[in-house]
């Protein structure tokens, strides 16, 4: 959790996204909105991963550990894979997803196979893989901090639309992983609410016994979505070395895994709301720095706390009867399923 303190300091390392823009594009609002999308991207990816996992009824508190393992793998890939730059970059992203998925496998085996308490297993994973553990160990033995990663996700100007006023920096001057995250939001929305498999997934998360009776393989769904969620968390972790902080430092995700966890609740387990929430969190990360850079007197520490306060307010608001009926957590979240145990 001490990683959270890094949050404010690491945020400063990002490029000023609208520096090349002129006129309206260097307007405070545009600058903050553009960097909110930038900083929000890893949160979108990890949040979507956690959403998939939780939709199947599995709570994964090891998100921070999985993101860090993804970050390590991506750094390793970018530093060590030969060939053309795009190839190394793809390899780095794939490595990150595999790393996240592997850690998620451990969680899945523990909580689905051994029925270990899900909160306990998740916390143990964060302790093992987190800032002071396996990720730093691997980074040390692979000597990952020997230099900045050579292949990064640069800004990708779509069809030269990046200089359009306002929408240019926001929508057309992001990097490829950000664009990918938008496609993913749409794809997962479709998957969850418009496909049979998505319907089955939601059934598994709401009532595994009913799903089982319907012939849905509950355990297979849970394994699959926990592992897929880990892969997305790994991808979110990869965003840090490949886009935000090119030089490896231990615990560089700075507690974003915990924010992603909050986001899923904040976004009522819906992809499109998770995206909105992620950008709100991203905005608060950049707001303080941007304001300070412009000579406005604010406490960056208090500003950084704001989204967490907001999350609590939202949670209290949705705890009223009406909202609770409409937007609830998957009913079976956190409870292991054992055939014929009731």
């Amino acid at each position: 959790m001490s990683g959270l303190l890094v949050l404010a300091s690491t945020a400063g390392a990002a490029p000023d996204l609208a520096s090349s823009g002129r006129g309206v594009n260097s307007n405070l609002f545009v600058v903050i909105a553009a960097s909110a999308i930038f900083y929000g991207t890893p949160l979108v990816l990890a949040g979507l991963g956690e959403m998939l996992t939780e939709r199947s009824g599995i709570l994964n508190l090891g998100l921070e550990g999985m993101m860090l393992m993804g970050a390590v793998a991506a750094t390793w890939g970018s530093l060590n894979v030969g060939g053309p730059g795009w190839f190394a970059l793809v390899a780095a992203l794939v490595a990150a997803m595999v790393a996240g998925a592997l850690v998620a496998c451990v969680h899945a085996v523990l909580v689905i196979g051994f029925r270990v308490e899900q909160i306990v297993s998740g916390l143990a994973i964060t302790i093992l893989a987190g800032g002071a553990g396996l990720s730093s160990y691997l980074a040390g033995s692979w000597d990952l901090s020997r230099g900045p990663v050579p292949h990064r996700l640069g800004r990708f100007d779509v069809l030269g639309l990046g200089d359009l006023p306002v929408v240019g920096p926001l929508l057309f001057r992001q990097n490829l992983l950000t664009y990918a995250s938008w496609l993913l939001v749409a794809a997962l929305w479709w998957y969850l609410f418009r496909t049979r498999r998505g319907l089955h997934l939601r059934a598994v998360g709401e009532s595994p016994a009913t799903a089982d009776a319907m012939g849905i393989p509950v355990e297979r769904y849970r394994y699959g979505h926990t592992i897929a969620g880990g892969a997305l968390a790994g991808l979110g972790g990869a965003f840090f070395p490949l886009a935000i902080i090119p030089l490896w430092s231990d615990g560089l995700t700075g507690g974003r895994g915990w924010i992603a966890l909050a986001l899923v609740i904040f976004g009522f387990w819906r992809p499109e709301l998770i995206l909105v929430g992620a950008y709100l969190f991203g905005a608060s990360a950049s707001l303080g720095l941007t304001l300070q850079a412009r000579g406005v007197e604010v406490s960056p520490q208090l500003l950084a706390s704001l989204p967490y306060l907001l999350t609590i307010v939202v949670l209290v608001a949705v705890s009223t009867g009406w909202a609770r009926r409409r937007v609830g957590a998957p009913a079976a979240l956190g409870t292991p399923y054992e055939r014929e145990s009731r």
Binding site: M1, S2, L4, L5, L61, L110, F114, R115, V116, E117, I119, V120, S121, L123, A124, T126, I127, L128, A129, A132, G133, L134, S136, Y137, G140, S141, G255, W258, I259, L261, A262, I265, S299, Q301, L302, A304, S305, Y308, L309, T311, I312, L315, V316, S319, R324, E338, E340, S341
Partner: protein, 377 residues
């Protein structure tokens, strides 16, 4: 039957130690280091008075943190927020300890009271949210952690900072009445050079005693354990579950408030970002798990954790140097082994109990699987 019980109770920790040792050795071999080197470093450390003293000094705060988490666990509450609770409590207690007009040693009481109250208030918020708004305490405490981590440096730099000397950001030093004396005289042969016996261990012991009496020897503790293991039965016997949730969270946070006081009541007698111990909240969760929420078990867990912590320095100064992260990996593997071992042993015990019951009643086993009889208890 009782002998079987005892064997099963001991089986879990033994199994965990065996698994953890083998897994750590495999991890070392896979990454190209010799397990023997690490083992000899640990063995050297176990015979060094200086290292043992450092271990005990570290174990004190771990123990208090572990107890704070365990109180929540006893009622099926996950207090993930110890980290934020003790940081906020630490900075406020340090500032109040310097400012309060208290005579002589009563200042120590004042500092302890402020720390407990701040910790209890912060975790009590999560308790209220859980009891009256249905907000998961896991999420609420994670959020409150993050807020406390922003609030603490803000309070320190804005209101509590001592401007009188130097550049270091710190609270005003605690006057002599609020300082606990070192316990060096307790060490046979005197304290080794460069090491002191931190008096915080006394607070840790007191916390352990209070925890035991409160949970296992009082009506309140009985109600709390009852609410934790069977909320429906507890409600039927007249326990107000909501009130219980708030009180349990508040007590957990109150104990958590004490975690960071080892650098307030002892050197450097003030709150600074550098000297104040960080990350103890999470460690407390691991330690409560290792100790199975038992006062003595938590003490063993805290000692083990601190012992591995202390080995970090020796690991990185060994020739050839060993990576210090090995220590964290060992700790992680131990937590996993313990969690799995208890789960496996509990499963076996459950099955055996069910078989025993079936045999005694001399009834053919019911149509459901035997393991379900234990699960219902």
């Amino acid at each position: 039957m009782t002998r079987n019980r005892l064997a099963l109770t001991l089986a879990a920790p033994v199994l965990a130690i065996v698994v953890a040792t083998i897994a750590s050795a495999i991890a070392l071999v896979l990454t190209g280091y010799a397990p023997g080197d690490v083992l000899s470093i640990l063995a050297d450390q176990a015979t060094s008075v200086r290292d043992l003293l450092r271990t005990v000094n570290r174990a004190g705060p771990y123990y208090v943190s572990g107890v704070a988490v365990a109180i929540g666990f006893k009622m099926n509450l996950f207090n993930i927020g110890v980290e934020g609770q003790y940081r906020l409590a630490g900075v406020v207690a340090a500032a109040a300890g310097a400012a309060l007009p208290l005579p002589g040693p009563t200042r120590v009481i004042g500092i302890l009271a402020v720390a407990v109250l701040v910790g209890a208030a912060w975790s009590g918020l999560a308790g209220l949210l859980r009891a009256y708004r249905g907000v998961s305490e896991v999420i609420a405490t994670i959020m409150l952690n993050a807020i406390a981590l922003g609030l603490t440096p803000f309070l320190l730099t804005r209101y509590f900072e001592d401007d009188s000397e130097g550049f270091a950001v710190r609270t005003r030093p605690i006057p002599s009445g609020g300082r606990l004396p070192f316990l060096d005289f307790l060490i046979p042969g005197g304290a080794p050079a460069g090491a002191r016996f931190n008096p915080f261990i006394l607070i840790a012991i007191a916390v352990g005693v209070v925890y035991y009496v409160l949970i296992w020897r009082s009506r309140f503790g009985y109600d709390l354990r009852a609410s934790g293991s069977n909320p429906h039965a507890a409600r039927a016997s007249g326990v107000d579950a909501k009130r219980m949730t708030v009180i349990a969270m508040a007590i957990s946070g109150g104990i958590a408030g004490l975690v960071g006081l080892s650098t307030i009541l002892s050197t450097p007698y003030s709150y600074t970002e550098e000297s104040f111990l960080s990350g103890l909240g999470f460690t407390g969760i691991a330690i409560a798990l290792l100790g199975r929420n038992h006062p003595v078990g938590i003490a063993l867990g805290a000692f083990l954790w601190a012992f591995i912590d202390v080995s970090r320095t020796a690991l990185s100064s060994a020739t050839p140097p060993l990576p210090r992260e090995i220590a964290t990996i060992m700790q992680g593997i131990i937590v996993f082994s313990v969690v799995i071992a208890y789960e496996v042993v509990a499963r076996i015990a459950e099955r055996r109990d069910a078989a025993e019951v079936a045999r005694r009643t001399e009834d053919p086993p019911p149509t459901t699987e035997p393991s379900t009889a234990g699960a219902a208890s």
